[in-house]
Assembly symmetry: D2
Homo-oligomer: 157 residues x 4
């Protein structure tokens, strides 16, 4: 079976975050990697690094779609950095490349990604993120997030 049939899970969140949020992202990333799914993220710090670290530790592939022009700007747990030079324009690419998106906490950039994902009909699971957005599937823990991701994937098939 060819690898391109693999599942891509996007994890979105702020580039700077408290340690509990980082750990939550890392726990989710680990679960993603253990499932054999590919992690798609923005490639920088904070939630993006936490998720990549967890997925990397589980042996998973981690893709970082970067705003800048240099692949070395990626955090050390990104196995495939994609520098775009598009600035915030890369937010759309992160969600476009994902089958399901999980938003963890986050600021305006994350909010833009949630909205863009919903606009292009990607399922969005929300973990301690922007509240009250119709269409977001809110959960409380990384394990619950994973379960919901799996449920959304089963509907996409």
């Amino acid at each position: 079976m060819l690898m391109y049939k693999k599942i891509h899970i996007g994890v979105i969140g702020a580039g700077d975050c408290p340690v509990e949020t980082y750990n939550m992202a890392s726990e989710l990333g680990y679960l993603i990697g253990k499932n054999g799914w590919i992690l798609i993220c923005g490639g920088l710090g904070g939630v993006m690094e936490g998720a990549a670290k967890g997925c990397y530790k589980a042996g998973g592939m981690t893709v970082g779609i970067l705003p800048g022009e240099e692949k070395l700007a990626a955090n050390p747990f990104i196995t495939l950095p994609i520098p775009t030079g598009l600035g915030e324009g890369r937010n759309l690419l992160v969600v476009r490349a994902s089958d399901v998106v999980v938003a963890i906490a986050g600021g305006y950039g994350t909010l833009s990604e949630i909205a863009l994902a919903l606009k292009i009909d990607k399922p969005v699971v929300g973990l301690k993120t922007w509240p009250g957005i119709e269409g977001v599937d809110y959960v409380e823990t990384p394990q619950q997030a994973l379960d919901r991701v799996a449920r959304h994937l089963s509907r996409l098939e």
Copy 2:
């Protein structure tokens, strides 16, 4: 004095909307045109068309930054259509080209534009739009929106 020092006001909202929303957009567009400001929008129907129609009637210039590849997809009140072929990627361009953004009602696309605008530090005035977003300057009428736009502009100088 060269025209490029003119003010660009972005008006964002859904491509399909109730007539009251359309009229509200048109009223705001008219005020924008009367002020000699340039209207920036997504160039399609609904709020975009309402705003363009109002601004056009006031003799203003109306720019439509389109998602598709054809300039003829612009609504009839767009004096300068810019087809991009970037799909939803054009949302970032609409807010980037604006000095201040006014969001009227709207769905996920509008939410993405509000978030992108705040992310890149553009003032956002909200008129009957997504509630409760920190950083959005909420108002109730087109005239109030115009007054707030003017206040934000005075701070930018």
Copy 3:
């Protein structure tokens, strides 16, 4: 008749050029403005400024689709600056927004625009630019360029 049915002519070339090239661009820009066509360009210096200066002097509208995030980076003859923040990604937008493109001299950026224009089926007129590209309609003077542009436009109708 609404203004959006106006013709958009793209002029592409290097941001830094010898004075003769600048003057050639200016002469072409003047002819474009006199025809009531809108000038589309990259908004910076060199050929872009020459073309904008000529068109501006003829009373024409000049659109600058800028690589950076600030509209004030536009040259002083741009009446409508569109900052994109897309870097070289804006080259595609310049040709997408044009009905016919004229390339004047130029370096790699100009070559990329010629190729992108031909790829998306826009007619390209070449004035002292990259030689020997099949599909480019080569001419020797600004007046000849204008005549060829007019001929291409008549075929597009």
Copy 4:
């Protein structure tokens, strides 16, 4: 050692090509994979498929940066499809994500990628491609292309 320090080699060329060109791309892709380098390409048919097929057979990773919105549009030898929805705008991303680019034959899309690569200072090796472009390092065989790629990489370190 983390995988993100791996080398990314872009292979660009037409989506439709004669069988000899396809085989040449495949031979080059195989050499890229054997070197442990990651192949970056546009993810579609022709030269992109040939290169991906060769690299895949050598056990290498193959990234396809797609113009459309669906990852399933990728050819079957792409292990990581990145759908962008940017149309021809993805050409810039292909070269941006590459450390060195090899152009094989090709049409206007390939010419745009050669030009964009040179514009952003990426080394370009040319194999039976657009002739006479200053800055392109022309070679005659896939093995020679690989040797030149290696030489360019040694200068980048």
